[in-house]
Amino acid sequence: MTDLSHIRNFSIIAHIDHGKSTLADRLIEFCGAIEAREMKAQLLDNMDIERERGITIKAQTVRLNYTALNGETYQLNLMDTPGHVDFAYEVSRSLAACEGSLLVVDASQGVEAQTLANVYQAIDANHEIVPVLNKIDLPAADVPRVKEQIEDVIGLDASDAVEISAKTGLNIQGVLEAICARLPAPKGDAAAPLQALIVDSWYDPYLGVVILVRVVNGELKTGSKIRFMATGATRDVDRVGIFTPKKLQIDKLGPGEMGFLTAGIKDIRDTKVGDTITEERRLAERPLPGFKPSVPVVFCGLFPADAADFEELRDSLGKLALNDASFQFETESSAALGFGFRCGFLGLLHLEIIQERLEREFNLDLVTTAPSVVYRMHMTDGTIKELHNPADMPDPVKIDFIEEPWIKATIMLPDSYLGGVLQLCTERRGVQKDLTYVGGRAMLVYELPLNEVVFDFYDRLKSISRGYASFDYQLEGYREGDLVKMSILVNNEPVDALSIIVHRSQAEYRGRMLCERLKDLIPRHMFKIPIQAAIGGRVIARETISALRKDVLAKCYGGDITRKRKLLEKQKEGKKRMRQFGEVEIPQTAFIAALRMGEE
């Protein structure tokens, strides 16, 4: 157990691609925690998808032993945190386990929107922050400009920022020295009753649930009986250990230290992140301040492309949920798409990642419906209902008013794209809160309804700014909105799976787009098919699929009736992939494409 004054707990805050994982790798390497032959890029990103996308999804921790220039040996606990807004909750609990942060900024790119959100969280968590300018070896690096940005935009003193290149290994020691010299040591009392904060937990097929903890007071030892203060459950500790980044079993963890424990737990839901662990024989007086639970904000339907895969999809979702307490799912059935699941996510990236993992790790072919947000229906009888699925919209006469979630979005971009981005935000019902210029870049702060953002905001923002805009948001709360359910009628029959909830001002545009798209996706029938978008009984957009005029084969003699019949049977097979609505057959692909997020 290390003396508190020689422990430093820190996390790294950075925008995607600004070099957080590379820096982590270099720090590990420098401290000799892992041999060169074991090095692979991005040591802490375990999942393939993390490594490929260059993002961190789950929190990780690693203990490093560093002998500083003053001759003292320090225990450094690096908490690798997710950078993306969807995982803001993970960020907040990682930050709570540390006393300081490294703020890594790409010296050629400057401060980005995502950096801001995370750095403010770190400031809120009373962190000491050491700015680190990375990629100073790049020709485009502009150290003075970026320092100015850090001071102007964030308000941090950047005069003694550490200038490095994580890629080439330049000045890694400078970072380690700054951690030891400038970050505060943790406080705690080894003699006090045990208080350990659950920072994260995940399911390991061999060990069961692994719990990542930060010990605040007391000692956590193998064999001791612990109690989870929120649930009251008690367990015997099987193992206590640390990551170096390899798992290493040790006897105990003391105050200020981070590590893991296992206690024969099978279900991740028994280990509430933010809960406090104490010792059964000597209970702590009160739990440590916890975290707000994370709540899914974006919902969508996931359906197996092949109905036969339903059970497999259920199993796969269950397995994913084992490791991701923020991911929710429940059975849903749709006339168009059959049986599937309504799933809740922390945000769009979270949705994409789950979808991609299902397709990749579980080899499932999925149909994803348009994402929607959670609406609050204030009913005339005074009750409040949460609406996760437009198909479940209650009768409008029973609704007093509807509230929708709003976000505060921060967008940073080169000012040459400002006009287009302002227009986009206005089209999406945005309310401008702030517009500032820093070193050739503009920082926009907008309040936006989340349902306008989940539609195709990212894609439009990217294309308008040619990829140069960065975007981040946080939930601001619910506000009343003039929201309506837009139904789609095919041949005068409503098709529930295609209905969406939309702001009245956007309804016509969205309705027209959906009708146009469906017109191309539904094959001609023997009769003409009107496609209408309607609000209540009022039609707001209309297209018509003209009738099939002729499809008969000219020649049918030569006596080979079998071949013609087989063609007919093949045609019949094709019909099985169609969904019947009244007299109209709609191919499943039409639902997929019409409901796909975004425009083509």
């Binding site: 023997m526 099939l548 005029r549 008969v552 009736i561 007919l568 019949k572 019909k575």
Partner: protein, 385 residues
């Protein structure tokens, strides 16, 4: 209820050249041993006759390939053997397909003497440019000559034209149709160009070098064809076949009425109702030499017969019968499948299709309307869903 008949089809697989749109079983050979082929055709005819005792032929059709390249003696021998085995009453329709390049007055006389009483000419187009584009070896002038010769030589004759050709306009087709009507007597077959797999046209089409008129343009041409021929007194009795009443092809009606037919020669198909096995589909080996070898060794080039179960019989009966303006007698449904139509097709669906104007359903007959026939694929899809 018209008797669907009992027909004999004889396939002659050889052509002088292969047409780029044709996916029929046709082959170009420098030399054909006519005596050997004659013997083989007779032998396979005998083999099928052994399976169908007591049946009486209602038509014979020589198709191909180019059967006008057959020696008249072969045609004569086949017809004589057919008469011996099944009975071929005088006046029974005997059709031979002919190519304008392979007809001459002497040859037509010889075929006529052999027993042929109807010819069907593969004219395809009445202008030189389109004939060339279709890969035909004859000119429009030769085509007209052949038509006149056929008319002079046979009481009944028909010719084929292909339309909805690449770049064909409605006006050009109307003009060509009127010229065809000037030449036609009682029967015309008017086929829309169809791109079949395994043809040269298919390759060109895939590459985008051959562009067909779009669906609307095709439909326009089709509707115009129906109108022009109807007004001229040759209404469509089948999707692509037009005749003055009474001049219909007796042989092809057997196919469409889902009657039995024997298929002799390489790649020939048949449908037979056998006393012990019920309805079967027959087909013979496609490759001419392989077929010849099989017949000489075993008496037939037939592959194992394929049973046609009741649901397939219903599908085939409707698929063929609804091509005809006369439609399908409901009694035929019962005769083929043992069950009524209403028992096998959802009556609500029938009522809906009738309401939409695609079918007519009387007490004894189901028929597709003109609108329904044009959309027969979709119509069958709905009926047999």
């Amino acid at each position: 209820m018209p008797d669907p008949g009992f027909a004999l089809y004889v396939h002659w697989p050889f052509c002088a050249s292969k047409c780029p749109y044709c996916d029929f079983n046709s082959h170009v050979r420098e030399r054909v041993d006519h005596a050997r082929w004659r013997a083989a055709l007779l032998r396979e005819l005998d083999w099928f006759a052994d399976l169908t005792p007591g049946r009486r032929l209602t038509s014979v059709f020589f198709g191909g390939g180019t059967p006008s390249l057959m020696e008249p003696a072969t045609v004569e021998a086949v017809l004589r053997r057919a008469d011996e085995r099944w009975g071929l009453p005088a006046g029974t329709e005997v059709t031979l397909e002919a190519n304008p390049t392979s007809v001459e007055a002497d040859r037509f006389r010889a075929f006529r003497a052999a027993g042929v009483n109807r010819v069907s000419l593969g004219i395809q187009a009445l202008n030189d440019a389109d004939l060339k584009a279709l890969g035909r070896r004859h000119s429009a002038g030769e085509a007209l000559g052949a038509i006149r010769l056929a008319r002079a030589s046979f009481d009944r004759f028909s010719f084929d034209l292909i339309y909805a050709r690449p770049g064909q306009t409605g006006a050009a087709w109307a003009e060509e149709l009127n010229r065809a009507l000037d030449e036609a007597v009682g029967h015309l077959s008017l086929y829309q160009l169809t791109i079949e797999e395994g043809t040269q046209f298919h390759t060109l089409h895939q590459r985008g070098e051959l562009v067909l008129p779009d669906e609307d343009a095709q439909a326009d041409l089709y509707e115009m064809t129906q109108a022009v021929l109807g007004a001229a007194g040759l209404p469509a009795y089948e999707i692509s076949n037009h005749a003055r009443p009474g001049e219909e092809s007796r042989h092809n009606l057997t196919y469409w009425r889902y009657g039995d037919y024997v298929g002799v020669g390489p790649g020939a198909h048949g449908r037979l109702t056998l006393p012990d096995r019920g309805k079967v589909g027959t087909r013979t080996h496609r490759a001419p030499e392989a077929w010849l070898d099989l017949v000489e060794r075993q008496g037939s080039g037939a592959k194992p017969f394929e049973p046609v179960p009741a649901d397939a019989r219903l599908a085939e009966l409707l698929m063929m019968g609804l091509r005809l303006a006369e439609g399908v007698p409901l009694a035929r449904v019962v005769a083929e499948t043992g069950r009524t139509l209403a028992d096998q097709v959802d009556p609500d669906r029938l009522a809906r299709l009738e309401r939409q104007g695609f079918i007519t359903l009387s007490e004894d007959r189901l028929a597709a309307t003109e609108a329904g026939r044009a959309r027969l694929n979709a119509l069958l899809g709905t009926l047999l869903a």
